[in-house]
């Protein structure tokens, strides 16, 4: 039976439950978390191999036929994202051993991490629009805990804003699903897609498409709806920030990609044009923020916004190169954002400040940190042998093929701003006169923080070098996005 695709969701869920016992025993918590993640990663590798060999994997819960039960669909898009999520969580949890404080570890930090990846993996895998909502809530509930855990003043302030924004967008999500249900009368995503094609997407469905963009755009932080992100993400400690920055907005991006490639493919001239304009504006807003700040956290946080814009620009092209580029760039961006936040966390630890103006001369004392930061920064900007190159290349190629010449040139130009914003951190923090240094830096703790970070940067380097090996996987993912009939056929036959 192909229940196998559920394992990357069920295993973290099960281990999350186990972690609710033995709340005060830190050793038990850490070992159980790592064990759960390692088993899930192995299953996710198996899943990717399986999907690669046999095409999309389907299981309809409870043995009901396809449009009536909840279908879980693991095509290449979701299998790759699930694998990336689990690997990143593994490194972030490992990194967190040294930087999450003991009180947090004793108060359900690890269960929250496990439940957040249950939500993320579930959202990537589900084939039912209401189930997507439920998994969104699972990951949001866990993220509410993580953002407020510790109870510092900034955390309390920002968590109120974060919860308020997400409650409103969740309410919009329910309303939108209600509208969609009243038009098409089904919740299964493959079935919705079929029904929309049959009735040829009348005006009301275009309205629903825009409402979905509003809902998922709020989660993914696209242009007019990104206002909550810079404040909310600067509050929690660095490992939590890395987890949020790498995973949460990407779930929104995935949901936009899924709905705009599977459901709303008839009125492309309006919906995808709007998506294109919004993605450009998102990049502009992100670039302004990334250049304006002298706070290392804020610079990287605004780079999340830029990356969301770039990926959605690729999605808006609706041609093979654009979607392939978007997939490449999505996975690259998850990895590199986690790595950058972890590096920034170390910089903050050794200098004891987030203000760039107070830093300086770290290259003399921490050369390895400097070089790895440089590699990660160049990877983010998309310098050829590194990971960000191929994705952006394909996105721009897709843009040219679709005839969006000037906007594609704009994407290329935005890379310079990205490079400038991260190189500014490099120049200010690592070059020049010796700046502020924290007094209580322990070499042992520094090494333990640095090791997982280094490995993650190495992973991102391999992602760049190994493009050749990854291309068939990404091509398959882009094919599913290009041609919804693959997805629909798989789901409708999978119920047998």
């Amino acid at each position: 039976m192909n229940n196998f695709l559920l394992l990357p969701i069920i295993i973290p869920f099960f281990f999350g439950m186990l972690l609710m016992f033995g709340q005060k025993k830190i050793a038990y918590q850490r070992i159980t978390t790592l064990l759960g993640l390692v088993i899930s990663i192995l299953c996710a590798f198996g899943l990717v191999a399986n999907v690669y060999e046999n095409g999309p994997q389907i299981v309809t819960l409870g043995n009901w036929p396809a449009p009536f039960g909840i279908t879980m669909v693991s095509d290449m898009v979701s299998a790759l994202l699930v694998l990336t999520t689990l690997i990143l969580t593994f490194f972030i949890v490992w990194y967190g051993f040294e930087s999450i404080k003991k009180e947090r570890e004793q108060f359900f930090y690890y269960p929250a991490v496990m439940f957040i990846i249950v939500g993320v993996n579930g959202a990537f895998t589900t084939g039912d629009i209401f189930n997507l909502f439920v998994f969104f809530e699972v990951l949001l509930m866990a993220s509410y805990l993580l953002i407020v855990l510790g109870g510092e003043k900034a955390q309390l302030r920002e968590s109120i804003k974060y919860i308020l924004v997400n409650v409103i967008s969740s309410a919009f999500f329910v309303i939108t699903v209600a509208f969609l249900y009243s038009v098409v009368g089904t919740l299964n995503m493959a079935d919705i897609s079929q029904k929309i094609t049959e009735i040829n997407q009348p005006g009301i469905l275009t309205v629903i498409a825009i409402l979905f963009l509003l809902v998922f755009g709020m989660k993914a932080a696209i242009f007019p709806l990104y206002f909550w992100l810079p404040g909310a993400y600067s509050a929690p400690p660095v490992p939590v920030l890395a987890l949020f920055g790498a995973l949460l907005t990407k779930v929104g991006v995935y949901a936009i990609t899924r709905t705009y490639t599977l459901f709303f493919t008839q009125e492309v001239a309006f919906t995808h044009e709007l998506l294109l304009i919004l993605s450009i504006l998102t990049i502009v807003a992100g670039c302004i923020g990334a250049l304006a700040h002298f706070d290392v956290k804020q610079i990287i946080i605004y780079n999340i916004v830029i990356a969301v814009g770039v990926i959605l620009f690729g999605v808006a092209q609706m041609n093979e190169a654009g979607l392939e580029g978007a997939m490449f760039y999505l996975i690259h961006d998850m990895v590199i954002k986690a790595a950058l936040f972890m590096l920034i966390g170390i910089v903050i630890y050794v200098t004891g400040t987030t203000n760039l103006r107070k830093m300086g001369g770290l290259m003399k004392t921490y050369p390895a940190l400097g070089w790895f930061y440089l590699i990660a920064a160049l990877g983010l900007a998309g310098v050829p042998p590194l990971s960000g190159f191929i994705g952006k290349l394909l996105i721009v190629q897709g843009g040219f093929e679709a005839g969006n010449i000037w906007t594609s040139v704009f994407i290329l130009a935005s890379s310079i701003v990205v490079l400038l914003s991260v190189m500014r951190i490099f120049i200010y923090a690592f070059w020049g006169e010796q700046g502020q240094l924290a007094t209580n830096v322990e070499k042992k703790k520094y090494n333990r923080l640095f090791f997982p970070t280094m490995l993650l940067v190495v992973v991102s380097i391999f992602y760049g070098i190994g493009t050749e090996w990854l291309t068939p996987f990404i091509k398959q993912a882009a094919n599913v996005l290009m041609d919804p009939s693959i997805y629909i056929d798989a789901v409708m036959k999978g119920g047998e």
Binding site: M1, N3, I10, F13, M17, M20, L61, N63
Partner: protein, 140 residues
Amino acid sequence: MKTNDVIMQFTAKIVFFIIFFYAVHIFFAGHYTPGGGFVGGLVTASAIVLLIIAFDLKTVQSILPINYIYLVACGLIISLGTAAFSMFVDKPFFTHFFDYFNLPILGKTSLHTAALFDLGVYLVVVGVTMTIIQTIGEDE
């Protein structure tokens, strides 16, 4: 002034059992009539809250020495276990099974694994509600 709430406490002792058995009734009736794990759990929690109001938090903790967080975890494990059981017999996740049994006193009864799933829901609801009330109540 020390208030004497003997009537309150005496009534609470009796009413607690009425509410509790009503909750059990709702829980088991859920398959054929309105009810089920969620309402059953809430009604059970309200019975315990009645005890907390009539007596106080410390007394109730000493008569019901339950760690409600563990109760939530157990409920989750029961629900997941019921759903995952079908994976081991080569059926899709969440497939339920039922059959008719001749029980000693009740006679012919249909037993359904959905009731086990509901038991998990019931425990989670009781656990979560009581955790919320206890932590707010203990807060100085």
